[in-house]
């Protein structure tokens, strides 16, 4: 226990020492995504909420060609993509893939048009093949860590018997290559490379340089130690304990949750959550073997585990709750986001698992103790527990692909382009959803040169909901665009947008269009 306390202190210290925010979010882009520009920009600047490492950054120009002459330079949280001088007219897309401090890639696109908009689209998301590999490798890794290392820990510390070590042995054999595969796949994902590039050094180097690299190394070490602990030796118990600690450490070293502020809390919560899972899930496979061939030793083992499992469940619930609060921020996210949906499903499964565990603890184990009956029922119950546990692991591995609600950033703003022979106006609405929105109005003449206006007025109405025109004066920002901040759009629907630009005392240019605001 003293050991755990020391470790927790260490984790706390580590948490406080690194004050960085987790999972980089795009803070600003210059030029704003959706912009209409008169001339090609010198560079596209991406500013993130934390220091990031550029992964793959691509430029598709207005003619729809992928360009390889955009120079990328990074300094701290800013990434600057220098644009080639001969960028043609039309819509250009800069798609970026940067590596945030939790080791996950953050991707997105910046779209801007030079002169006139064309139909250039951001590149489609990669095929799901690599994601499948990442997911499978993660499930395999979890099996090795929880079923493998947890199983060995159970044998050495709870059962004091090496019965039923076949399953842990197999999962360790699966887990170790899966950890290696995770590194390779992560590297491919970070650099946006095809699977064939796995034979090159680049993806491995990049992946090992992220926080996920050392975490996976610790995981591999933990699994190797568990294999060592399978052998009968005087040091086997100590090695099994160190392996178990390794499981918690490995999980606490990387990922969305581990890097969520306050890190002191989240890292230690993950650590203990990992230990709890390993102790509980790891016990299931050996327990089943023990129960299916009951001996005199079975009953004390089952009762001992029953007590320890109760403690483990308590720790799991507490740490799980803390992490969920940090990651979700509000309960609505449980159903409104993919991250939350995974958590909700997991909670349902966990409830089932807890019900079974309670059944085992309060009905089946006492029955076994009273008259040695019910071994068959207990075995069946544990089998179902195993199946649910596997489903949970498979589900949780999917979190790799869903940013927690805490880090979700607004996407490309809603943009409309209004064109007449006299002028063209580009209207950017962010976030482009019902609620409070910011408008950026970019005014240009019919020829695409900037249009100097003395005053600009934005008028919005939603006739279908009986909202009469509301008029707001725009203010000219230092970027040369007109801004109207904090405009209330109370409903989704087809809003009528009218922009009056006063070009001289007696002349104004008015353009109108419809803006589709979709519900969130």
């Amino acid at each position: 226990m003293r050991f755990f306390a020391a470790l927790a202190t260490l984790l706390f210290a580590a948490g406080f020492a690194s004050a960085a925010w987790a999972h980089a979010a795009l803070v600003s882009v210059e030029p704003a995504s959706g912009s209409m520009l008169a001339a090609p920009p010198k560079a596209v600047q991406l500013r993130f909420s934390e220091a990031v490492t550029p992964g793959a950054i691509r430029l598709i120009d207005g003619a729809g060609r992928a360009r390889d002459d955009a120079r990328v330079s990074a300094s701290g949280e800013t990434i600057s993509v220098a644009m080639p001088a001969d960028l043609p007219e039309g819509t250009a897309v800069v798609s970026y893939r940067v590596i945030s401090q939790d080791g996950h890639p953050v991707t997105g696109s910046v779209i801007f048009s030079i002169g006139t908009p064309t139909a250039t689209k951001p590149p489609a998301a990669r095929d799901g093949g690599l994601n499948m590999v990442i997911w499978l490798a993660r499930v395999g890794l979890y099996l090795g860590l929880f079923v493998g290392v947890g199983g060995v820990f159970f044998a050495r510390w709870i059962a004091w018997s090496m019965t039923g070590m076949a399953v842990p042995r197999v999962t360790l054999a699966i887990g170790i290559p899966c950890a290696a595969a995770s590194v390779g796949a992560l590297g491919l994902d970070l650099l946006g490379l095809p699977p064939s590039a796995i034979t090159t050094a680049a993806p491995w180097k990049v992946a090992l340089a992220t926080s996920a690299g050392p975490a996976l190394l610790v995981a591999v070490t933990a699994m190797l130690l568990a294999l060592v602990a399978l052998r009968s030796a005087w040091y086997a118990r100590a090695v099994a304990l160190v392996a178990l600690v390794g499981v918690g450490l490995s999980l606490a070293m990387t990922g969305h949750a581990a890097t969520a502020p306050p890190e002191a809390l989240t890292r230690s919560a993950i650590f203990f959550h990992g230990l709890g899972v390993a102790i509980w899930i790891g016990a299931l496979a050996p327990l089943m073997t023990l129960v299916s061939r009951p001996t005199a030793a079975t009953l004390p083992i089952v009762s001992r585990f029953s007590r320890i499992a109760a403690l483990a469940v308590g720790v799991l619930a507490l740490t799980g709750l803390a992490l969920a609060i940090v990651q979700l921020e509000k309960p609505g996210a449980l159903v409104a986001t993919r991250y939350g949906l995974i958590l909700s499903t997991k909670l349902v499964l966990v409830t089932g698992l807890l019900a079974l565990a309670a059944l085992n603890r309060f009905r089946l184990t006492p029955a076994l103790a009273r008259n040695g009956a019910g071994a068959h029922a207990l075995k069946r119950s544990i089998l179902i527990e195993c199946a649910i546990a596997l489903a949970i692991l498979a589900l949780v591995a999917g979190w790799r692909f869903t940013p927690p609600p805490r880090t979700i950033v607004p996407e490309t703003p809603l943009a409309i382009h209004i064109h007449s022979d006299k002028a063209m106006f580009q209207v950017l609405v962010s976030p482009g959803r019902p609620g409070v929105d910011d408008f950026v109005l970019q005014l240009m003449t019919g020829e695409g040169t900037p249009l100097a206006a003395k005053e600009t007025t934005l008028t919005l109405s939603l006739p279908e909901r009986g909202i009469e025109p509301m008029e707001r004066k725009a203010s000219l920002g230092p970027d040369g665009y007109w801004h109207v901040r904090k405009v209330e759009l109370p409903f989704a629907g087809r809003w009528h947008v009218r922009i009056d630009a006063l070009v001289s005392d007696f002349e104004q240019i008015t353009l109108e269009d419809e803006l589709d605001v979709t519900p969130p």
Binding site: P469, D505, T510
Partner: protein, 176 residues
């Protein structure tokens, strides 16, 4: 007051009679004739007294002479026309482009008229509307009566297509 009833009120005010706009007293005139343009100022800018009226003279309106007005000083801005116009045998290529009355004070609760005389050149197209954009400057605020409906939109029966501060206009009739 609730937000909704506020919206209703705004809607009701918006629907009030067109007389609330700055307008021309004589609504139609034939091309190739003299035209006495009487600008009717029904109110100030959101309650504030009017202190200056500026009228932009559209192309094709020539030989402009503003009528002096007691208590107001009148200024004109001259410039080149984009075309040359025939005025009683003389070729005119420049003249008054803008007329401004200033220095007076017209309270919101009073009504007044500002007058100029002009000639509608022969080259103006009949059966169109000629607009005189007006900028009304007040002690606080400015009202710009400068909205000109897009071509074609002016004939729409939908009253909504009329802007909220249209420029006063005169319908041009064919030369008699």
């Amino acid at each position: 007051m609730s937000k909704r009833s506020c919206l209703f009120l705004i809607a009701a005010l918006g629907a009030s009679p067109a007389a609330a706009h700055v307008s021309l007293e004589t609504k139609q005139a034939a091309v190739g004739t003299s035209y006495k343009a009487v600008f009717v100022i029904p109110h100030g800018c959101a309650g504030s007294p009017t202190v200056k009226i500026r009228v932009q003279i559209p192309e094709g309106v020539i030989a402009v002479k503003p009528m002096p007005k007691a208590g107001w000083s009148v200024d004109v801005v001259e410039g080149k026309y984009t075309a040359e116009y025939d005025y009683h045998g003389n070729k005119l290529s420049s003249g008054v482009k803008e007329v401004a009355w200033s220095g007076g004070k017209l309270p919101d609760k009073h009504y007044d008229e500002f007058v100029l005389s002009a000639f509608l050149a022969n080259s103006l197209k009949a059966n169109t509307t000629l607009y005189f954009p007006v900028v009304q400057e007040c002690e606080t605020g400015v009202s710009r009566w400068i909205e000109i409906p897009a071509e074609g939109a002016g004939h729409s029966h939908d009253s909504k297509s009329e802007g909220k501060s249209p420029a006063p206009g005169v319908k041009l009739l064919p030369k008699p």
